[in-house]
């Protein structure tokens, strides 16, 4: 047999030969950013030697400053749920800009089916429907919300898969449509006073629990199911996926449906947590969700990224946001800095891709 130039290794799948995972880099970045804020806390004269994440004051009964940790994960949990869906869309080679307004519209609709009849003994002043819609079982608003998400996602996915409209344009249109639906639903009036069982869904640390449960579920799905494999394949090389016999169009519709259902679920949790729904809810959420995914190493060119990365990206996002508040940076500067960080993450990703291509 002819000698080959492919080395002498023969066939193997040695685990030790696998590349350094990208997620590890993000974890290191997370530690570095925390460290940076710790140092700032010591250096900045107006900070009085506070610690960012550690318990240094009063009781010393725990290692960490639990209050701040809780705030950080609560802050990122709801947008994090959206980011789980956005991650799948981006891995498949698309983008979803409609998730923020979808949160607003879904929250309005969901809350209309979750209202309670009596508020402190008085009739609900914000009632949307008649008596039949009061005190419904909690399953009904949840199912209505998820169905609405699935419907919007099916439209997004069908537009992209069957008409060839770029995902950016299709979901930008849906962005406006959803914001319109949110305002039209009650002519701009907020919807409030949910049933107790509905309010339980987003109470306390429940958003974090939902986020982690869904993260585990979708990590498993992306890693171990045919759906996950085809999502990566389509984002990696759509023509190859088609020629391999994957039904690319049907798969894209499914991906956008799942993403929009996750956004709708985020709306359920958010309106439950706030005990009210307003048409303006979810502003910038689509961008923050994309940012979490991109910071977490999901490549905007498709084919690469992971749920673990996005969860870490969400943590980085939360730590940075909380850290800016901690060092008393004004909210305007926070938005600007956030924008710079997102651009930086994409530049870094492109640079890494070039490095990888040069090595191959």
């Amino acid at each position: 047999m002819a000698d080959t130039s492919h080395g002498t290794g023969g066939l193997s799948f040695d685990k030790s030969k696998r590349a350094w995972p990208n997620e590890a880099n993000i974890f290191i970045a997370l530690i570095c950013i925390i460290g940076m804020f710790e140092i700032l806390g010591q250096l900045l004269p107006y900070m009085n030697n506070q610690s960012f994440l550690f318990d240094t004051k009063d009781r010393f009964d725990s290692v960490f400053n639990e209050a701040r940790l809780k705030i950080i994960i609560l802050q990122v949990a709801i947008i994090g749920i959206i980011a789980l869906g956005v991650t799948q869309v981006i891995i498949s080679g698309g983008i979803d800009l409609s998730s923020g307004p979808l949160v607003g519209a879904a929250a309005m609709i969901v809350m209309s089916f979750a209202q309670t009849e009596l508020v402190n003994g008085n009739p609900n002043p914000k009632a949307v429907f008649g008596d039949w819609a009061f005190d419904l079982p909690v399953l009904i608003p949840v199912v209505v919300g998820l169905l609405f998400g699935a419907f919007i996602g099916a439209i997004n996915g069908s537009l992209i898969a069957f008409t060839g409209i770029p995902p950016f344009i299709a979901t930008l249109g849906m962005f406006l449509v959803c914001r319109g639906i949110a305002q039209w639903w009650t002519r701009g009036q907020p919807v409030s006073f949910p049933t107790e069982s509905f309010a339980w869904l987003g109470s306390g640390m429940m958003p974090v629990i939902w986020f982690l449960l869904l993260a585990v579920l979708f990590h498993f799905i992306l890693r171990f199911t045919v759906y996950g494999k085809h999502t990566y394949a389509i984002g990696s090389n759509e023509d190859a996926a088609r020629m391999s016999g994957i039904n690319v169009k049907r798969h894209k519709v499914l991906v956008y449906m799942i993403a929009s259902m996750l956004a709708a679920f985020a709306a359920i949790i958010l309106s439950s947590k706030n005990l009210t729904a307003q048409s303006g809810m979810g502003q910038f959420y689509e961008l923050f969700a994309i940012a979490m995914a991109v910071i977490g190493g999901v490549s905007l060119t498709g084919g690469r990224g992971s749920i673990i990365g996005t969860v870490l990206g969400a943590m980085v996002f939360g730590v940075i946001q909380s850290g800016f508040t901690y060092v008393k940076l004004d909210a305007f500067y926070q938005l600007m800095a956030m924008g710079a960080i997102i651009i930086g993450a994409v530049v870094l990703d492109q640079w890494r891709q070039k490095q990888a291509a040069a090595r191959a």
């Binding site: 047999m1 002819a2 000698d3 080959t4 130039s5 492919h6 080395g7 290794g9 023969g10 066939l11 193997s12 799948f13 040695d14 685990k15 030969k17 696998r18 590349a19 799905i221 171990f224 199911t225 045919v226 759906y227 494999k229 085809h230 990566y232 394949a233 984002g235 990696s236 090389n237 023509d239 190859a240 996926a241 088609r242 020629m243 391999s244 016999g245 994957i246 798969h251 499914l254 084919g303 690469r304 990888a356 291509a357 090595r359 191959a360």
Partner: protein, 260 residues
């Protein structure tokens, strides 16, 4: 007697708007036979393959596979009917590893009632991958690496191993060695010889005269969308110069006069 013929086309024609990319191709491939398709760029070779494999829909004509009249709606139909194709543009997903690419679109799965969320049987796919690569004597240092990090030859070998792993009724290769070095080309040619020994029929599109004379039984020459020659090269009275003459249009076989 009909069962002796793997593939037969009659009057196979493809027009792109006003352009006649393929005109009235009558083609036959017998069991165990390896046939090369040659011709200049734009002669209709790849167009011919795309009509057979269902990547495009033909304008006119009939295709029989093992005596059965077939009209594939897409590449998956062709593949399910047993036609394996190595495309000129490698149909590989760069971000996936070797087993993933080998089994793309026909993964081994468990719990199939879960529909699109059925579980991947990674273990079985890895095992089958190693068996397949051993059968074709392809060496790849680590099959868990993504395709992105592999050399052109390794990528090509993965694409070909895909066709060889799944026992196919007809294998089609579109310029499989066009971008390869000497040793990598030798490896691909070895795989083709293995297929010949196993009696698997093959259509090979190639520009490489030496390779074609080394590997196949018969050469079919395309020119400006038409077949202009059908040359049996086993008895050795056809030379490379003859083939070049047919490709450039200096010669045309009498039975294909309308192609002149």
């Amino acid at each position: 007697m009909e069962n002796d013929i793997v593939l037969k086309t009659e009057d196979l024609t493809k027009h792109y708007g006003g352009v006649q990319a393929l005109e009235g191709a009558n083609f036959e491939l017998k069991k165990g036979e390896h046939v090369a398709i040659m011709g200049d760029n734009g002669a209709g070779k790849s167009t011919f393959v795309r009509q057979i494999t269902g990547v495009e829909q033909r304008t006119r004509g009939t295709v029989w596979l093992y005596g059965e009249n077939v009209a594939f709606g897409g590449p998956l139909d062709a593949r399910e009917a047993g036609i394996e194709t190595v495309f000129q543009t490698l149909a590989l997903a760069d971000d996936l590893d070797v087993p993933d690419n080998l089994f793309l679109g026909r993964e081994k799965t468990r719990l199939d009632w879960l529909g699109p969320f059925r579980l991947l049987d990674y273990k079985a796919m890895r095992r089958a991958t190693i068996e397949g690569l051993e059968k074709t004597a392809v060496k790849i240092p680590n099959i868990r690496n993504t395709i992105r990090n592999m050399s052109g030859g390794q990528r090509q070998c993965v694409a070909i191993a895909r066709t060889a792993t799944f026992h196919s009724r007809l294998t089609i290769m579109d310029e499989p060695t066009a971008a390869l070095g000497v040793q990598e080309t030798a490896q691909v040619e070895n795989i083709i010889r293995t297929l010949k020994e196993q009696g698997e029929p093959l259509i090979l599109i190639s520009h490489n005269m030496r390779q074609v004379f080394d590997l196949v039984d018969r050469i079919v020459v395309f020119r400006r969308g038409r077949i202009c020659a059908n040359l049996d090269i086993k008895n050795g009275d056809i030379t490379g110069e003859d083939v070049v003459a047919y490709i450039t249009g200096a010669k045309t076989q009498p039975e294909y006069q309308e192609a002149a």
